[in-house]
Each structure stands twice: as structure tokens, then as C-alpha cells.
């Protein structure tokens, strides 16, 4: 895991060349900065800045309630570890329109870069497989990103992509931290105003 050589700032634009095709939710901190930069803090993205662990079950709710849309969850290793049970919930529901991307830097980036479990022994891809996700892929090198982008389109959903990245900062992007405003923005865009 220490050989991961992906710069996280270059990951999402290559995985999601057409982010407007997705409804997205991102977990707190770095994942949300990267996702907000990808979409320009777009109206079909809901970013979190708290509720650590909520991104996967939140995205599952979106996927079950919007079966005609593709839903992507952008999370990090620390956030995902906070609610691993949600992977089992996803596997049992098996929505055919959900992709989970975990940006694994093995660090708690938002609080000072303290080591996390995935920098020691824990393998989240194997956990996702064990939870029962039908399609799991792990990458750690830049030249693997193109194949991962295909995986997100072609593999049987729900999909779990673990992208091991170098420790380093997310995109420096300032997004709205007002969850009520972000909820209204998303619903107005998706459901129509009023």
C-alpha cells in the first residue's frame, strides 16, 4: 500500500470525464473537496463536512430512490471505516445504479494526516469483497486509472473501486458548507423548483 503513486487531485477527473451523468454524494473532508472541484460544487453533488461514515448509506438511499439515475459515492478510507456495515447493506440491496469510489490515502487528512488502519494492515477492497459487493477493483498507479474508469461503467453494480493514492492534499477548493442550502440546490435541480 505504500507503493501507491496516484496524485488524488488527478483521480476523479479521469474516473468521471462526464460527471454530469451522475448524482453524487461525497463524504467529509478531502473526498468532498475533490468531488466539489470535479463538478464546480455542482447542483447534482451533495458534499458532507460532518456525519463521518454517512456517505455510503446516503448514496444507497439515493440509488434506491432514483433507480433511473447513476449514483456515485466518493468517500475516503477513514470515512468508510466509520461505517463498514453499510457495505453489507449495499450488498444485500444490490442496486444496479450505484458506484462507490474510496480514495485511500491511509491518513486522516483533515485532522493533520495521522496514520489510519489502511496504512497498517487493513485492506478495504477485501472488506468490500467480503461484504458481498459483486464488483471490486483496486488500483494504486496512475496508468491503472483508465481501466478503473471503464470498470465504473461496465462492471456489474454495485461497484466498489479502491484507489490507493499518495498521501497529499486534496484539491484546494472552497465549497458551500451549508447543508440546508445544498439540499435545496440539489432538490431544485433534480426535482424542479417549487
Amino acid at each position: 500500500m505504500t507503493d501507491a503513486d496516484i496524485d488524488r487531485r488527478e483521480l476523479l477527473p479521469q474516473l468521471f470525464p462526464a460527471p454530469g451523468d451522475y448524482l453524487m454524494v461525497s463524504g467529509l473532508a478531502g473526498a468532498s473537496r475533490d468531488a466539489a472541484a470535479l463538478t464546480g460544487d455542482g447542483e447534482r453533488l451533495f458534499t458532507m463536512a460532518g456525519t463521518m461514515g454517512a456517505a455510503v448509506p446516503f448514496g444507497l438511499g439515493m440509488a434506491l430512490a432514483a433507480p433511473g439515475s447513476q449514483v456515485a459515492v466518493i468517500t475516503g478510507d477513514g470515512e468508510l471505516l466509520m461505517d463498514l456495515g453499510a457495505l453489507a447493506t449495499v450488498a444485500s440491496q444490490a442496486p444496479d445504479n450505484l458506484s462507490i469510489v474510496c480514495i485511500d490515502n491511509g491518513r486522516h487528512g483533515e485532522t493533520g494526516g495521522q496514520l489510519g488502519h489502511t496504512a497498517i494492515r487493513t485492506d478495504l477492497a477485501r472488506i468490500a469483497e467480503g461484504a458481498g459487493l459483486p464488483s471490486v477493483m483496486a488500483i494504486g498507479r496512475p496508468e491503472e486509472i483508465a481501466a478503473a474508469a471503464e470498470f465504473l461503467i461496465e462492471a456489474t453494480a454495485p461497484r466498489f473501486l479502491l484507489a490507493r493514492v499518495r498521501p497529499g492534499p486534496p484539491v484546494a477548493y472552497k465549497r458551500s458548507l451549508d447543508p440546508a442550502a445544498c439540499r435545496r440546490r440539489f432538490r431544485d435541480a433534480y426535482l424542479g423548483a417549487g
Binding site: 438511499g61 430512490a65 432514483a66 439515475s69 447543508p179 440546508a180 432538490r187 433534480y190
Partner: protein, 173 residues
């Protein structure tokens, strides 16, 4: 409560929820919600979702709301203790979430492990901005459910329907 009432209330509550547009029934299994979930499993428009932990249901219902769907979270009172951080979505984000809580550690409880969390349910919910609608008598269920549904899905509040042990009956040990 008579045996007839005990059998009838889940069907009445389920119909009320379906009529209010609830489609997702997220739950952690409990004796108090078992019949309600069976009804959801048998109904075309209802979608039951077995959770690993109760907090997932808060996030799942919020995600469903984001795309215009209504969900409820059914759980035992001990599960309320797993939810507070995720309940930030309600107070901070204005996500309407309806909790249906079968109480333990309440009236007639015989298991000492149940009391700490059972007695903390209402203070925790209040601290996180969730309104409690408590049901102690059979005739209170319909109006309490109506009030909780209105608070959640009309007024955008967090609401909890608390089915007390006086209403459900305490478990014998």
C-alpha cells in the same frame, strides 16, 4: 391492549405510512417492528431495507429525500444511541426523517441493560432537534402518527414516533 389491538396496530400504522407516501422502510430487526416490516415486504410500493446499524437509516432516508422519496427508520430504542451524529443531517440540513422507535427500558422493563439507553432516548432526540411523539394507549397511535408524519414530511422536521412499552407490552424474562 387486547390481543386484537396488538395484531391490528401494525397494519393501521403501515397503511397510514403508505398513504403519506412513505416507500422506504429501513430497519434493524426488533420484535416491536417485525410485523410492520413483514407488511412492507408484502406490499408492492414499499421497499424494506435491512440495515447493519441504525445510523445508516438516518443517512439512507436523507439520501432518498434528496431525490424526492420518503423513508422511515424503524428500530428499537437502543438503536437511537447509534444515531446522534448522523442526526446532524436533520437539524443542520433540513432533511425530514421519521423514526419509529419501539421502546425498551421503559414501563415494565425487566432487563437492567435496557434502562440506560431507554431512558436516554427522549433527551438525545431533543438534543439533536428531533421531536418526540409518544404513544402509550392504542387510541393515541393514529393521531400521533399523523402528527409525526406532518412534522416530518410537511414541515421538514425530524420526528420520532415512540411506541412505549405500555403500548407494546413489556417483554417477560
Amino acid at each position: 391492549m387486547t390481543d386484537t389491538d396488538k395484531n391490528a396496530w401494525p397494519a393501521q400504522l403501515f397503511e397510514q405510512l403508505i398513504e403519506a407516501g412513505v416507500r422506504l422502510f429501513t430497519y434493524v430487526p426488533d420484535a416491536g417492528n417485525a410485523r410492520l416490516i413483514e407488511l412492507a415486504e408484502a406490499h408492492n410500493a414499499a421497499h424494506p431495507v435491512l440495515l447493519s446499524s441504525e445510523q445508516e437509516g438516518v443517512a439512507l432516508c436523507a439520501g432518498a429525500d434528496l431525490v424526492g422519496e420518503r423513508g422511515v427508520l424503524c428500530m428499537q430504542s437502543s438503536g437511537v444511541g447509534n444515531c446522534p451524529n448522523f442526526l446532524s443531517l436533520i437539524k443542520g440540513g433540513g432533511f425530514p426523517v421519521l423514526l419509529i422507535v419501539s421502546m425498551r427500558g421503559d414501563y415494565g422493563e425487566q432487563n437492567p441493560w435496557q434502562y440506560p439507553m431507554g431512558q436516554a432516548v427522549e433527551p438525545i432526540l431533543a438534543a439533536m432537534g428531533v421531536l418526540s411523539f409518544r404513544v402509550e394507549r392504542p387510541e393515541e397511535l393514529e393521531p400521533a402518527a399523523r402528527a409525526a408524519l406532518a412534522a416530518a414530511f410537511r414541515a421538514g422536521q425530524g420526528a420520532a414516533l415512540l411506541l412505549s412499552q405500555k403500548f407494546l407490552g413489556a417483554k417477560d424474562f
